[in-house]
Homo-oligomer: 243 residues x 2
């Protein structure tokens, strides 16, 4: 039997995407580093054999990610420069991606536990000013008639403050991104809560215990309590969803 010819359509990669990949390669192999200036749009178009609009679109994509910054004009400073991506840029990108990503919830929970355990251990070792920030968030959460809206905001602040006390900026940024990507889910869970005062009091008690362990520089205890706190909350969320 003779195999039939198969005519599958060739994939079409838009030109801006090819330009984008070329610039990304230069960034990855460090030929382009923060502070470096890119050739002018016109020159790039000639060198890459692409149209100027395609080059402009590729530059725009990297500008929107905070990786490039372009200034207009004709002075010595005008042009497109590689930026040392500010850490907020990574968090923003990552949280939007995680929000639409198809990771199983259990993977996200495990990753949170791993990251927050790491930060708790580091925070207990470092101690310092950051602990005031954690305590301040908890004091504000004690307000008697606090809404779940405000509570959720301060809860995020509590977890972010611990991450930032952990002493590792990359890990803190990853933690913040994951926490922010699920903010809406947590908000929805709290809004659906039938017994808000009970849940609120349990969360407050958890937070205080974690804070206390950090103040006593007991990293392993703080890490275990954080893990339990995160896992319990997800179990509770799952119960609400299935109810």
């Amino acid at each position: 039997m003779v195999a039939q010819p198969v005519w599958e359509p060739v994939g079409r990669v838009p030109t801006y995407e090819l330009v984008l990949r070329r610039i990304e390669e230069q960034l990855l192999n460090r030929s382009l580093q923060p502070g470096d200036k890119l050739p002018a749009e016109r020159e790039l178009a000639v060198m890459l054999g692409a149209s100027r609009p395609a080059v402009r679109e590729a530059l725009r994509v990297l500008q929107a990610q905070g990786i490039l910054r372009s200034t207009t004009g004709s002075g010595a400073d005008a042009g497109t420069v590689v930026m040392a991506a500010p850490s907020g840029a990574l968090t923003r990108l990552l949280k939007v991606h995680l929000a639409v990503a198809s990771f199983p919830l259990s993977d996200v929970v495990e990753a949170r536990v791993m990251l927050e355990r790491f930060s708790a251990l580091g925070a207990a070792r470092n101690a310092g000013d950051g602990f005031d920030r954690i305590g301040r968030a908890l004091d504000l959460m004690d307000e008697p008639d606090i809404s779940y809206d405000r509570f959720n905001e301060l809860d995020t602040e509590f977890h972010i403050a611990i991450a930032e006390c952990g002493g590792n900026r990359l890990i803190a940024d990853l933690t913040v991104a994951i926490r922010e990507s699920i903010r809406a889910d947590i908000h929805r869970a709290l809004a659906a809560e039938l017994d808000w005062p009970v849940v609120r009091d349990r969360l407050r008690a958890d937070h205080r215990q974690i804070h206390r362990a950090l103040l006593h520089a007991d990293g392993p205890l703080a890490a275990d309590l954080l893990e339990q706190h995160i896992v319990d909350f997800y179990h509770h969320m799952a119960t609400l969803r299935d109810a």
Copy 2:
């Protein structure tokens, strides 16, 4: 004394950026979910009070990130749809970001250690087909006259294979992104290596030990060996750089 008026320039946020933020908000609060169709460009421009080119640029930025996909034409399927971001998209974004990010090297090393320890523990529990993939990479690295180029490629494959045996896709994606973002640094370090055969043999022996621990389902040992392997390599890189 009367305070002098201060006239600081107002920040100028480009319109496409405002449109982008508006779409990101919808994604974060789950009003827009994978599979959902966005209003037509023309309608979006009217609703957001923005020009059509600004809307088009914002859509382009999200298309380039794999979050939106647009099809042209006038059929029922034409339009812009939210995609469940494929995991490769996250890795790609993250690795480019990490390459220009200003995280201290020690933060990156710590994050790698944390992620790879997690994967080793998971891989030892899961066992399975993935171990063949790890072993295959090691066999290929045994080639007598292997170049550091080819070695680096297989070394990346070795670490990625472990991450993917770990059973957590999010953590595997983060690991791969970090490993890929430093591929050029590792390549440069190996290229500068004065005593390549000695270093190569040491790396091979490390890898085999880690693989053996995984085969014996000894997660903690595999995790400790991986940690030592990563930390040693960075120390060695630092020595080369300072030499």
